[in-house]
């Protein structure tokens, strides 16, 4: 297979935030201890007229605009999300129309809890690498839902990232990918139910840690690399504590984790989580540097990637908003406003 990789990328984060303390106060919980146990201080909140589709479109437009890519070159669009607004009717067709990529392309929506977006990257790598298409667009976008008062409510956030995958004009090469998948009942949402259910403590050890560490270690074995060969590590960030611990267990330092560690002021953007960390690293990485990214999706599985940054990355700088710019100057909302934005209360 020819070398494949990232031609361009774009991210989107809504401008609203809610502080963990504000949610805790509503439910009579101790905000201080929740902040410390989760290592999350605030999370993004979608506007009333934003959803997975609008976030996916904004991220996709940012990726295309960053490099003035002709949208008609895109031969596949896959959007990974666990909050597609329609159960039947794809998000990806709306994205395709909104970026002007129709009608000559294939499209579908992916769902694998928080790793639908990285599964989309792999599908695009295959289509691009085999020469079936010129460019592929892989998107991870979510407006994550946590039931009012549930532990997930402190972290369930909104955001999305789009990657344009191609064979030439690469800004970063994806040198290898490695996946691990098992059937794991750690987290689910049945059809027609508004909020997910989770297996409590079960979500940590056998689910997140086993899969993400297994995939990251498998990738390093396959590529004969060690943590010392990487400049950055990006892991799925359901909260701050999990990736910090997993990075340590894998032998990575805080310095390698830091630049892509976006969760403390963003929350868990689900399908956008690991990809948002990757986008934040691409915003500042230098040619020649190496990134290990590993996503995690409940159910469960992990996709790990070895990404090597190339000279072309310099052409992409400041052509679209960076993740740190998107995180800057948020508008803070009260719990009442937040509940209205998320449709948790009838007005």
């Amino acid at each position: 297979m020819d070398s494949v990789g990232i031609v361009s990328y774009g991210a989107y984060i809504p401008r609203y935030r809610i502080k963990v303390d504000e949610i805790a106060e509503t439910w009579g919980e101790d905000g201080d201890s929740i902040r410390k146990s989760l290592w999350v201080f605030e999370k993004s909140v979608p506007d009333i007229d934003e959803d997975t589709v609008t976030i996916a479109v904004e991220a996709a437009r940012s990726a295309i605009g960053r490099r003035e890519i002709d949208p008609l070159r895109i031969g596949a669009i896959y959007t990974g999300s666990e909050s597609h607004p329609y159960v039947v009717k794809p998000t990806s067709t709306i994205v395709a129309e909104a970026i002007g990529a129709t009608p000559l392309l294939t499209a579908a929506d992916f769902e694998f809890a928080c790793k639908g977006g990285t599964a989309a990257i792999q599908a695009c790598m295959g289509l691009v690498g085999s020469g079936m298409i010129d460019l592929g667009l892989a998107i991870g976008s979510d407006v994550a839902q946590g039931a009012p008062g549930d532990a997930l409510e402190y972290t369930a956030a909104a955001g999305g990232v789009a990657l344009v995958i191609g064979r030439s004009e690469l800004a970063a090469e994806i040198e290898a990918t490695y996946s691990l998948t098992t059937d794991m009942p750690d987290f689910w949402r049945r059809d027609g139910m508004p909020y997910p259910e989770h297996g409590g403590r079960f979500t940590g050890e056998p689910a997140y840690f086993r899969h993400i560490i297994g995939a990251a270690q498998g990738l390093m074995e396959k590529t004969s690399t060690t943590p010392g060969d990487y400049d950055y590590v990006v892991l799925h960030q359901p909260n701050g504590k999990f990736p910090m611990r997993a990075a340590r267990m894998l032998g990575f330092t805080e310095r390698q984790l830091g630049p892509g560690f976006v969760v403390p002021h963003l929350g868990n953007t689900y399908s956008g989580s690991a990809m948002m960390g990757l986008a934040a690293v691409l915003d500042l990485a230098e040619p020649g540097e190496r990134i290990l990214m590993a996503s995690f999706g409940s159910g469960a599985g992990s996709d790990a990637f070895l990404v090597r940054v190339l000279d072309e990355i310099r052409e992409l700088r400041e052509k679209a908003p960076s993740v740190s710019e998107l995180l800057k100057d948020p508008t803070y909302v009260s719990y009442a406003t937040y509940a209205r934005h998320k449709g948790k209360m009838k007005m």
Partner: protein, 129 residues
């Protein structure tokens, strides 16, 4: 709005696709097939607007119509695109932030929905630049 009616105009709602008369350099949104100034001399080509412009005037809506995805009160404005055409759109900002002449840029948002079971209408709104 009916589903077929929305679908017919969907491309122009998503993307600010209009037309441009190369004879008199006038831009049209919504698109026109014939330039009213040049008539038969007019050469019309499709044009994708950049989506940047300024707020010409606005009003504050206290009671939004049903099926519209917006918090009351919200800002409804007339935007003049940099290429010239004017259109009415919701402006995403608080009523206190709205200012005549302010620069705006188009974004992709939910406009409304038929019902909890019905179709979701997406389209273009504007945010402060």
């Amino acid at each position: 709005m009916t589903v077929p009616r929305f679908w017919r105009k969907l491309k122009h709602r998503y993307n600010l696709l209009g037309t441009h008369c190369t004879t008199c350099e006038t831009y049209y949104y919504p698109p026109r097939k014939i330039c009213p100034k040049c008539r038969r001399r007019g050469e019309i080509e499709p044009h994708r607007f950049k989506g940047e412009g300024k707020l010409l005037t606005y009003t504050i809506i206290q009671n939004p119509p049903e099926k519209i995805t917006a918090h009351a009160p919200y800002v409804l404005g007339i935007v003049e695109l940099d290429e010239g055409p004017r259109l009415t759109s919701q402006i995403i900002c608080s009523p206190e932030e709205a200012e005549i002449g302010m620069r705006v840029r188009s974004v992709f948002r939910k406009i409304g929905e038929e019902s909890a079971e019905g179709m979701i209408y997406y389209g273009t709104k504007f945010v402060k630049l």
